[in-house]
């Protein structure tokens, strides 16, 4: 084996990010690494590339134990990485990027001619003949930049190449070009770790695959010996005890909202969606399939460029979050640290924020009222904080999530979007949030629930919409809702997609 990882464990304050994970990589192999957000993929990569120091475990490269202390160190050892957002400098020329740190010099001065020659040599064999190495990198497409990054990583490291979601922003043709490069490198004997959440690409490119979930190693298999359904089971599975459906298909209230042909180019294909009062719509799909993109379009964060949304009263304006809020929408985003909480503000201020923004600056919520609001939700949602005046940044993840929820509940929206509301929070809080969803819908609120946990979706949703490759592909209602059907819908491929891979 070229690279062997054994019993790798890494903890961060409060979380066990990697729990005795193992991985091995042979020379001349593409090994796919799969898992949802929080599965531990990126932590594993960061331990391999020296960004994080591991707590315990062994990493061996060519039979020698290694402990890289920086990305630079990892590069020297032979492990190169290419990230989704190209980690090269767009303001430098292609040649400068390729030769950075080892530019050929004469009398202390960089020799432009030799640098270009070196760069062209490094790029040979990557099918980038049309690229002028004297131009700045930023003037080329992301695909070209991605391949330049690979060329640099290979030239610098030459043993192990880690590709971290390299195709996320590429189109089909560019992806194919990239894959050709990767296959060539495999022929040349490199070991390649390939991270992607596009299953088609995993099946098309990889020789073996490893699935991680919640920081644990789930399975390692030869790619041809597995299938999509099994794989999705491994990735999303929980323990897949046949989860009880919360309630038989609700009678459902009156039709509340209807979206016709709403979509945004490059984010989510146009879809239709009708929302009834008091129902929970689950959105199931893999990471990057269009779950969060659907929510962003509905809430005006990345406003739709086609289609229209209506209610009884007529057309809705969903062009910005502000207007969406005015239409009675609420949105608790997936990444609560960067998009949810305002860390230095107190619990009280965070809860009051959306309500206050809606009322306008000139019409402040009186302190007493804010306090009452905060105390009210601290009690109702059981937010664990020493006081309403504590900065939200000092609370635990689950309590931060509850504060974001409280912010929206204080608005009493008619349509609430919850993107992964239970990620990274403890079991108790998890159950409380699910219970809360039930109570809210009983009061007539409609909820769009996005989750990568089937148990949760099945338990909470009245119907489930499955998204795949930026399409809303199918809908399951009432009795149809079960794990197998969801997985089959996610796994199904139609001919058009087959052509792509």
């Amino acid at each position: 084996m070229l690279l062997t990882v054994r019993d790798l464990t890494k903890t961060f304050p409060g979380t066990l990010a990697l729990d005795n994970v193992r991985l091995d990589l042979a020379a001349g192999e593409v090994h796919a690494l799969l898992g949802e957000n929080g599965a531990g993929k990126s932590t594993l990569i960061k331990c391999l590339t020296g960004v994080h120091a591991r707590d315990s475990g062994h990493i061996e490269l060519d039979g020698q134990p290694i402990s890289p202390t920086s990305t630079h160190d990892a590069q020297e050892l032979g492990i190169g990485t290419v990230y989704q957002e190209v980690n090269l400098l767009p303001n430098l020329t292609v040649a400068e990027n390729l030769t950075f740190g080892r530019q050929p010099t004469r009398l202390g001065l960089v020799s432009g001619r030799r640098m270009r020659a070196d760069a062209e040599e490094m790029l040979a064999g990557y099918g980038l003949d049309q690229v002028n190495v004297s131009r700045e990198l930023g003037s080329y497409s992301v695909a070209v930049q991605q391949i330049v990054a690979i060329a640099r990583a290979v030239a610098l490291s030459g043993k192990v190449l880690i590709l971290d979601e390299p195709t996320a922003s590429l189109d089909a043709r560019e992806t194919e070009t990239l894959f050709k490069v990767v296959r060539d490198l495999r022929e040349r004997g490199l070991g390649i770790i390939f991270i992607s959440h596009f299953l088609d690409q995993v099946f098309s490119l990889s020789d073996r695959l490893t699935v991680l979930r919640n920081g644990r190693h789930i399975v390692t298999e030869k790619t041809p010996e597995t299938n999509r359904v099994e794989l999705i089971h491994h990735m999303l599975g929980h323990e897949l005890v046949a989860a009880e459906h919360r309630h038989a298909a609700r009678k459902g209230g009156a039709n509340l909202l209807s979206f016709k042909g709403v979509g945004r180019r490059g984010k989510i294909e146009p879809f239709d969606l009708d929302v009834r009062a008091g129902e929970v719509i689950g959105l199931a799909g893999l990471l990057g399939s269009g779950r969060t993109e659907t929510a962003d379009v509905l809430f005006g964060r990345t406003p739709a460029d086609q289609g229209e949304a209506t209610d009884d009263a007529g057309k809705l304006n969903l062009s910005t979050p502000r207007t969406a809020i005015a239409e009675g929408f609420g949105y608790a985003p997936e990444d609560r640290k960067t998009d949810g909480i305002v860390a230095d503000l107190s619990v009280r201020e965070n809860i009051a924020l959306a309500f206050q923004a809606r009322r306008g600056w000139a019409n402040p919520i009186p302190q007493a009222e804010q306090k009452r609001l905060a105390e009210d939700y601290i009690r109702k949602l059981d937010i664990r904080t020493s006081s309403a005046e504590k900065a939200v940044g000092d609370l635990s993840g689950g309590n931060q999530q509850k504060v974001v929820l409280a912010r929206w509940l204080a608005m009493n929206p008619r349509f609430l979007i919850l993107d992964e509301p239970t990620r990274g929070i403890d079991v108790g809080a998890h159950a409380e949030i699910l219970k809360l969803i039930g109570e809210l819908t009983d009061q007539g609120m409609s909820i769009l629930l996005i989750s990568s946990e089937f148990d949760e979706l099945i338990a909470a949703s009245d119907r489930i919409i499955v998204v795949r490759d930026r399409h809303h592909v199918s809908q399951l209602v009432g009795e149809e809702i079960d794990t197998d059907r969801i997985i089959n819908a996610i796994a199904a491929r139609d001919d058009a997609e087959r052509a792509m891979s």
């Binding site: 630079h72 303001n91 432009g112």
Partner: protein, 322 residues
Amino acid sequence: MNARILPLYATIVIFLIAYLICYIQFPAMLSTRVVGNLLTDNAYLGIVAVGMTVVILSGGIDLSVGSVIAFSGVFVAVMLRDTDLHPLIVFALLLGITTGFGAAMGALIHGLAMPAFIVTLAGMFLARGAAYMLTIDSVPIDHAFYDVLDAYYRMPGGGRLTLIGVVMLVTVFAGMIIAHRTRFGTSVFALGGGEHTARLMGVSVGLTTVKIYAFSGFMAGLSGIVFSVYTGSGYPLATVGTELTAIATVVIGGTILTGGSGYVFGTLIGVLTMGLIQTYIVFDGSLSSWWTKIVIGLLLLLFILLQKGLLTLGQRQRSSPT
């Protein structure tokens, strides 16, 4: 065409058009006399702007240079008055001090992870205060060696190519080599392109930051020496606000104020453009001096909008699927 060279072309075109307008109105402006004066009068500015260009290319800013120039002039004048040291030794001492001063600011910026803006603000106060502490008066320099430094070559047409003008041109050339032809220069551009990425690519961020501000400090010291030759004295109240003028010339020279893109040569053109505006106002006689500031402000606006436009255009091009 490379988008990053566009502002440089814009700079050159603006300068040429401006010169053409001047020439049409006052044919005398196309003489070696005017060109010679343009170089001499702006020598200190050109030198300090080279240092500022490197700082800005790295995504930083150095507010201390105006004070450092004043300090340098005072230091040289006082040392020559109170000691028997040869001016060259005083110069060496001074350059050591200002380079070290710059290095210390660079170390603070990196060490404290605080904005360069506020750290060099402290440097600005400190250097000006130090100049005041040496003397609060204008100290004349009358050393025989300074007559040597005042040397010039009489060009055909009667213009004077002074030594300090030549020093400025040589400095610009050296700056071009350092910024565009050395590994250090590439690291400077890398820092300006993004500190995080630069670190991933193996740039030693701390060391490079220290070197950048040391370079700027050295240039400010050299500029101070040239300024003392130009004025023949040292005065602690001199060159107040020169850091702003230097920043403006760098931007008008086509360097992006957020770093990562630009040319040292453009800065020279920026300096000459500024000098040209002033010369024009002198020739015209009826125009008032405030037009200099307004025109510079407008040029700043023009270049900042141009760069912003190029940036958004580039992003749109790249994000749209082709």
